[in-house]
Amino acid sequence: MATTALKATARRLLAGGVCLAAAGLVAAPALAQSITVVREVDSDRYDPHRSTARAASEVLFMVADTLVSLDYDMQTVKPGLAERWEVSDDGKTYTFHLKDGVKFCDGKKMTAADVVYSLKRWIDPATKSPVAWRAGEVEDIVAVDDRTVEYRLKAPFSELLYQLTQSFAVVIDQATVEKLGGDFGVKGFNGTGPYCWVEWRPRNDLKLARNPDYNWGPPIYENTGPAQVEEIVWKIVPEENTRMAAVATGQSEITQYVPYSTLNTLRANPQLLVSQSDAAFWTYFAGFKIDREMVSEEAVRQAMVLAVDQDAIAENLYFGEVEPAHSYISQAALDWDKDLDDKLIRTDVEKAGKLLDEAGWKMESDGFRYKNGKKLSPVAYSFAGSTWQKLMEAMQGDLRKVGVDLDIQAFDATIAWGKMATQEFDVFGMSYPYISAGDALNLYFRSANTPTPNRMNWKDPETDELLDRGKAALDPETRAQAYGKVLEKVHQAAVWIPLYHEPMKLVQTKKLAPVKPHNIYGCGLYKGLDIKFQ
């Protein structure tokens, strides 16, 4: 809790001060132990079960821990709060053995009961968590003893461990949740993370102080605790340019939120270091609502995919800093089907025109295509704001070249989600983070997930069956095979126009030791255990 963390910090600072004074150093290096991370948007709150924003996860990974952690390769599951675990032969029971000596920020000991409480709160219908499905079909979660948790599923769920690495599965303190009620994750927080919650001023900043007792960090870090800086301040700066300048002038020590256009300038700055994670697991795409008349023909959709020049978009809009996407998930993601590598649709304007001709959409004198007197003018719903505005306009330009008149309608984020839950558009723009093929496919292509997030209305019994098979697979091969088949189906049907995979790029001052970017849920700093001054 906030006050406890403060007290703990104060104690440490005091102790440190005494030592330093004894050593004859009267300066206050403690001040230099604070780092500021600038970012674009704030979260609506920091309740792990109610917040799905990346902004929330960034902080949650730091203030709380998960049972298992994810390695930098985004494929290997490593210990977290659980030092080891076993999976039963039928794949339905996971037994987690917890580390000893783990304490919450307020000093209370963490036990199996806390894990059970947190996970059950996640799936409790009363919590109304939009991400409860990520926990699988739970039969029960029980504390066998103080340090053992049994996670029992109704059906095997091959994704489970990956899902449990996400910020939705962090362990929180029941007493704090109940005491704060609606203010949990707003006025206070109590977790077991390397940093403790101090204070949040919405849309301004969020302060975290390090947890001095922390020594149970995941083994993916060299330093498993405690954290090596006293304080982390997450500061909201909506303007791209100001964020860039903040890092360049040392007002922010590290951030992943700098505009692509400035990365080259920053790389040339001798005081700064730009690093990148090879795993780009955040994909931008435009989806088709495939049962709408305008885009119901596969040929039309394929032609539109062929027309969009992802390489040019990546080069012109993003200064070559993003990875142009021809696949729906990163080709480096777990369970990506390598056989598809050669079958992906690449930009080919000529072929696009031919496909449309064959489908009966004839080019008229105004440069657009018509069929039975109807103009090929699909309605695209998009988020307002510079990123999507630019993307949609670029697509619009590409599509115009083959005679398609994309009708862009942009909405403010608060309204856009509602608008995109309707059936009134042909194309929609979206981006999302994922950890694996299964994660992405189960979310977007299940018939049960219409109208959202399956906004394409992709309803295919075979897909559902394959997804079930992949989900319930007991061995990686079966799982990869099932998901591979789904990937093949949806790519063939051209239900999305993949646009680009967003890489994780961190810009930091060289005063800090190099921080290795992680890409879990797009949160580059992950647990922040390797952040330290040189």
Partner: protein, 290 residues
């Protein structure tokens, strides 16, 4: 006393004096050039102001890397800044003009009615006092919050903000006119109220109002541009000077021209408008000095 006869030579000498004020004259000329350029934007603009090119952030020609094809360089999406500037000035000037005209028109009518019908005067002036309590920027925020952001919202807000001031100025001018003999005379020969207001009152108040509105024009443009800069005004991809400056802010530190050129244009327009307004006031209506 017949005011119209008296007025003519006085006004003529006023204009002569105005023409002797070199700085004001220069300002007027610059303003005229800008207005003409804005009006002729479709013919003058070398490029489509909305067409993106593959050359984003090209510097202006006075920079080594500049190209004559894009005299003022290109913005973040490779659009020609000069063309956007021409179209942008158009929208910005239109925004200022419309809000001043609408607000000025309504304000003048309110002010004249207030002076003409003394019975409703106290009531109207109280309403005006209340309206004066809302600064333009606040009205802008409120209107944007209610009707959503956009140029129309800004024009509404700026027009509303202009009404009370104009009403006051008109009223004080009109009260003086009301005391003149010709008003009595007009009434005596049976002219209707409407005719009296239109023919005599309006004609004699218009110069005060005009001077005031000229002075106001610059302020209105500044506030409008500020609201656009904050994202509450014109929406992309349309071009408006304040919004262009806001977009340029994304590249301020390594391509400052994207923000500076539209900002300087606003400065130039407002500066000229203010100088012309000042000069006009000095010669036409010294009473407004305070």
């Amino acid at each position: 006393m017949n005011a119209t006869i008296e007025d003519v030579p006085q006004r003529r000498s006023a204009f002569r004096r105005l023409f002797r004020d070199g700085a004001a004259l220069l300002a007027l000329a610059v303003l005229a050039v800008i207005v003409a350029a804005a009006l002729l934007a479709p013919w003058l603009a070398p490029h489509d102001p909305f067409a993106t090119t593959r050359q984003p952030l090209l510097p202006p020609v006075w920079n080594e890397a500049g190209q004559w094809a894009f005299p003022f360089g290109t913005d973040g999406q490779g659009r020609d800044i000069l063309s956007r500037l021409l179209y942008g000035s158009r929208l910005t000037l239109l925004m200022g003009l419309l809000s001043v005209a609408i607000g000025g028109g309504i304000g003048m009518v309110v002010g004249m009615l207030s002076a003409f019908y003394r019975r409703i005067d106290p009531f109207i002036m109280r309403v005006v006092d209340v309206l004066l309590s809302f600064p333009a920027i606040l009205l802008g925020l409120a209107v944007a919050a209610i009707f959503g952001t956009g140029v129309t919202a800004i024009i509404i807000a700026l027009a509303i903000a202009t009404i009370p001031d104009v009403a006051r100025v008109t009223r004080s001018a009109a009260v003086v006119v009301m005391g003149q003999d010709f008003m009595e005379a007009g009434r005596a020969i049976g002219l209707s109220d409407a005719t009296l207001i239109r023919r005599y009152l309006a004609l004699n108040c218009i110069s005060s109002v005009f001077v005031f509105l000229t002075l106001r024009f610059g302020q209105v443009i500044l506030i409008g541009a500020a609201l656009s800069f904050l994202g509450l005004g014109a929406k992309p991809p349309s071009a408006e000077l304040g919004m262009m400056a806001a977009q340029g802010r994304d590249f301020l530190f390594f391509a400052p021209h994207v923000a500076t050129i539209p900002s300087l244009t606003i400065f130039l327009i407002v500066l000229c408008a203010n100088m012309v307004g000042d000069a006009l006031r000095d010669v036409l209506d010294p009473r407004l000095r305070r």
